[in-house]
Symmetry: none
Subunit: 156 residues, 2 copies
């Protein structure tokens, strides 16, 4: 299982390419991924990124519910119709499609934000503001939820 950590800010060059952080690539390589799947977040001006495996999981679970629920129907439309597969070049970069860059207001810099099993791509300034307000909320509400116990059986 991949583990995406930290925030890396990389340049978007004139051709629209960005280096995916080496540590993220390493996390993906563990499952021999040659590409990633990106789609606009519907909660924020950011790009959601998952590996192909996970996208297929989305697809499976969407299949189960889409026919019964307008919400899921809308959800899968939002995700799949806007998702793009981004392939790595020889140097570990991807082309950032214009539509996604626009959605996230990315021009010359891209912030790769590790979120554990997935990561996001933001404009650095937008992300900084988002992070501030999120951490303010965390301080207000306390940490109890995080300290939830997992079942200690067979950890990976």
């Amino acid at each position: 299982m991949p583990l995406f950590l930290n925030t890396h800010i990389n340049k978007v060059d004139r051709k629209g390419r960005v280096s995916v952080p080496a540590s993220f690539r390493a996390a993906l390589a563990a499952q021999s991924a040659v590409a990633i799947v990106a789609f606009p977040s519907f909660r924020a001006p950011a790009i959601e990124v998952v590996d192909r495996q996970r996208m297929e999981q989305f697809s499976d679970s969407a299949d189960q519910y889409a026919q019964f629920s307008d919400t899921h129907d809308d959800l899968s439309l939002a995700i799949f119709s806007n998702a793009e597969e981004l392939a790595f070049d020889g140097e570990g970069r991807v082309m950032l499609p214009q539509s996604l860059a626009d959605h996230a207001h990315i021009t010359t810099l891209a912030a790769f934000v590790g979120l554990g099993r997935t990561f996001q791509i933001w404009s650095p300034e937008t992300f900084e503001r988002h992070k501030q307000s999120a951490s303010a909320r965390v301080r207000e509400q306390g940490l109890s939820l995080m300290l939830r116990r997992n079942t200690e059986g067979g950890g990976s």
Copy 2:
């Protein structure tokens, strides 16, 4: 399970490296850990350190809840986007990233503080002050709270 005890003060060299105390490394080696995960404490100017296993557990539980709860979403952001995996070099040192050193006000000395299952890294002066006020609180309030049994199921 690792057990981190005592406080060790080590130097941060010009390149930003610090030796992790040998006893801490021994505790980690029991699970053949080659790296640790560090992130800024929300509660204090200190660096929280956990092993990778524990981070994977966070990741799993966050994965389940983040999509349904704004609180968990904020928490994942606070933890993962600020967390870094620190790998040991051949001498048992790690690179202390600038952002973490800044958060803890660490410049030339780092205090490794064992807290049982995890440990923290402080600036020695800051930690000294923190310890003073903490022990004052303990004297005032008594130890009953600390000695309470945790409710966790099957700790090893």
